[in-house]
Amino acid sequence: MVRSRSIVGSIVHYVVLVAILAVMVGPLVWMARVALLDKTATLSPDSLLSTAVTLQNFIDLFTQSGMARYMFNSLFVAVAVTVGNIIFCVMVGWVLARHRSWFTRLLFVSVVIVLMIPVHIVIIPLYLICLKGGIYDTYWALILPFLINPIGIFLARQYIETIPPSMEEAARVDGASEARILFTIVMPMAKPAIAVLGVLAFITNWNSFLFPFILTSSESMRTLPVALAMLQGHQAIDWQHLMAGSTLAVLPVLALFFIMQRQIVSGVTAGGIKQ
């Protein structure tokens, strides 16, 4: 009796799980299906079952729109910001992990404050700072403000605190400079934390819309999400091309998600606030 009930129970459990799975993944499947559909096909719910596949929409995006440029912009900005985050967050996180003084306490308070500040408050001032500082509508505006971020510092500090400082002290006795200790001892030891904050920085900036949108104006400076949002609403664009562009925006994140899922999960559950 009990046994058969538990089998029924687990069947029900799986049915529920699979139904939710369909709801959660369905929209992304639909995106990919539409992206691979011929542009002359009329969209209808039946399109999901169609087996016809074409890459023409992707080819069109690269040959007839600035897709290559948008992707380059997104990649360039996301990589630059990620590299900056890795170097600077570990640097600051190391200082915070190894020293206790009024200075580091103040630093830590500032990190926590920024973690909680709603970013909408800096939209107008950041726009004006970039405008007056002469970096509006340049890569600098998309990179400089984001080179270091509180979540990265937080993650780096937390991880470095768990490592005993003996190696660093030994190197210091041998006469190594602080910079040398940072780059040859701390960085390699902090690799797990670097993986977490790096992948988080990359995904956040690759997906980012708000700041790339308000800090640029020319078409050649658009990142992929900005370009997609701008394409929408144009009479000339159809769903097939829009979804093809969306697929291009999702694929790198999807790849990272499969390779570094553990790091992504530990990063978003530890640092939480930003996205």
Partner: protein, 290 residues
């Protein structure tokens, strides 16, 4: 020794600079701007006007409407997101084959770009789109121009999309909270014959309270700032404008009223602060459930 001290300051300087230039200064800058009449094209530069912007905001029907929509968005999505996230966490918390696959799949929408999600759902919400079709199947009326182009459904449709996108993320945080509950508590409850429903209300729920508080606070800070999906899906039309959309519209889109937009930003800033404080006090004070 002094060179060590020096290097410490040097290594901390990227954050100090970033904090001052991109956070502390902007915070004060926009506070000051909120008290000035400052437009892009005004020749005289910012002019001190005291509380004029704030007074004007509270008789500006566009602002009040965006405030109303923002509250509908926050109060409507947060309880739903939290309850579904908890349900999902309980669903995938037990041991079973393929657990990892389901967890990842449920979390997947969160790592997708909001612009992409908004584009996909713009398509799904259209008349003849998938969601419209499903709604018709269960007997719901679909507005003539689809869910997004009708004032009675647009905001709620966007809210539903946001719930879809966020539940997997908060599920992960609940899962971390569930993992921290010691098994012994359930074993003891089992021995004393407590039903699983009773175990849920006397063990699981009370011990998840700190996690729930964290989720409520970060979700409300985020939800009060809803913008991207509004921009992509409706451009603030069909009664979907929110406060951040209002800030964008008045500050950066056409009018470039920096002072006015900054004042609006500060109103929202204060609301978010009060709301977080309220959540802290309410949840901290509540008597234990058992």
């Amino acid at each position: 020794m002094t060179s060590r001290r020096l290097s410490r300051f040097l290594f901390a300087s990227p954050w100090v600079l970033s904090f001052v230039i991109f956070w502390a200064f902007p915070l004060l800058y926009s506070l000051w701007m909120g008290f000035t009449d400052y437009r892009l094209l005004s020749r005289s530069g910012p002019e001190w006007v005291g509380f004029d912007n704030y007074v004007a905001l509270f008789s500006d029907s566009d602002f009040l409407n965006s405030l109303k929509n923002t509250f509908i968005f926050v109060i409507g999505t947060i309880p739903v997101t939290t309850v579904i996230a908890l349900a999902l966490a309980l669903l995938v918390n037990r041991e079973f084959k393929g657990r990892g696959i389901f967890r990842s799949a449920y979390f997947l929408p969160w790592v997708t770009s909001m612009v992409v999600v908004a584009l996909i759902f713009t398509n799904l919400f259209q008349r003849g789109g998938y969601i419209a079709l499903l709604a018709q199947m269960v007997g719901l009326d679909v507005p003539t121009h689809g869910f997004l182009y009708d004032s009675s459904t647009a905001l709620y449709s966007i809210m539903a999309m946001d719930v879809w996108m966020a539940v997997g993320y908060y599920m992960l945080i609940f899962l971390a909270g569930l993992k921290a509950i010691p098994d012994e508590l359930y074993e003891a409850a089992e021995i004393s014959g407590a039903s699983s429903l009773r175990q849920f209300f006397t063990i699981t729920l009370p011990l998840l309270r700190p996690v729930a508080l964290f989720i409520l606070v970060i979700n409300s800070i985020k939800s009060f700032q809803v913008f991207v999906e509004i921009f992509v899906m409706t451009k603030g039309k069909f009664d979907t404008s929110t406060v951040v959309y209002f800030i964008y519209e008045t500050g950066l889109q056409t009018q470039f009223k920096f002072g006015y937009a900054s004042a609006a930003a500060y109103v929202l800033f204060v609301i978010i602060g009060l709301f977080s404080l309220l959540q802290f006090t309410v949840i901290r004070r509540r008597q234990p459930l058992w």
